[in-house]
Subunit: 61 residues, 6 copies
Amino acid sequence: MPVIHVYMWAGRTQEVKEKIVKGITDVFVNLGVPAEAVIVILHDVEKSNWGSAGKLASKTS
Amino acid sequence: MPVIHVYMWAGRTQEVKEKIVKGITDVFVNLGVPAEAVIVILHDVEKSNWGSAGKLASKTS
Amino acid sequence: MPVIHVYMWAGRTQEVKEKIVKGITDVFVNLGVPAEAVIVILHDVEKSNWGSAGKLASKTS
Amino acid sequence: MPVIHVYMWAGRTQEVKEKIVKGITDVFVNLGVPAEAVIVILHDVEKSNWGSAGKLASKTS
Amino acid sequence: MPVIHVYMWAGRTQEVKEKIVKGITDVFVNLGVPAEAVIVILHDVEKSNWGSAGKLASKTS
Amino acid sequence: MPVIHVYMWAGRTQEVKEKIVKGITDVFVNLGVPAEAVIVILHDVEKSNWGSAGKLASKTS
C-alpha cells in the first residue's frame, strides 16, 4: 500500500523514470508510509494511443 | 475530466483509433462536456495477453 | 473485447450513465464489433479525489 | 498528460489528499511538465478490499 | 509483483472476498511467486455502473 | 463480469500465461460464476517500468 499507476507518453529515459519513481515514493514517505510499501507502475503510452480533445496526440503534439 | 481507458486487441489502424477517440469524446461533448476535458487512452492488448472463458484469445480467436 | 473504464466526477444520473454506455458501445458497433462484446465500467470519482494542476477539484470546481 | 491513478487505503483526510496531489504533480513539474497537464485520480480502497499475501488487510492490519 | 485489480459487481461477502484473494494469490504461489509479493485490489462496481451490450446491468441483471 | 487486470513483470511464457488465466478464472468458477463471464487481461510490465521502495526493479532485481 499504496499502488500508483502512471500513464504518460513514451520516450522518457531511465534516469527520468527513476526520478518519477523516487519522487512519487517520497510523497508517501513524507506522510509516514514506509518506502517498501509503495509500488509505482509506469505505463509508456505512444502518442498514437493518446487522445485529447477528440484527436490523437500523434497528430497534434 | 473524464479520463477513459480503452483495452482492446492490438492491430487497429491509426484511422480506426482516430474514430474511437473522436467517437468516445463526442459522447461526452453531447452531454455538455468540453472536448478539451476528455482524455482517451488506448491500450493495445495482444491476444496472447487476453483471457476469456479461461483461455487465451490467441488460442481461440 | 473491448473493455472500457470511464473515470468521471460523481453525480451523473442513471439516464446520463445509460447514454454514456450506449454511446461508447455504439462507437465500437459502428466499427463492426458486436455490442455483446463491449464492456463499459463507470467509475464515479468524488471531486475531493480528483486532482488537476496540483489541486483537488473540490477546491476549484 | 500524464494521468496518475493512486490506489490507497481509505481514511485519509482532505489535507493529506491535497498533499498527495500537490506532491505528485510537483514531481512532473520539476521535469518540465506544466501543472495543468497533470491529472491525479485518488482511489480510496477499503482494507476489506485490499489483499496482500493472500489475506484481506482488514484481517491483518 | 504482481498487482491484480479485480472489477466485479458489488455485494459479495467478506468470506467470498477472502476466497477470491486467497485463490488468486495461490495461482501465483503455484508458479513460484512468494505470497507476500502478491497484491490483489478488489473493486466493487454497482450494476448501475456496469455496462454490457450497450445497457446498464442494473436494467438487465 | 468480472474483469481482472494483472500487472506483472514481462517475460512469462505462453504456457505460464495460460495457467494464470485458467487459474484466476477457476477461482470465480468455483464461486458459481460462468467461465464465459470472466475476462482476464494480462499486462507485461518491464522491470524498467516497475518501481518498488523508490527504485526501479531493473536496478534491484
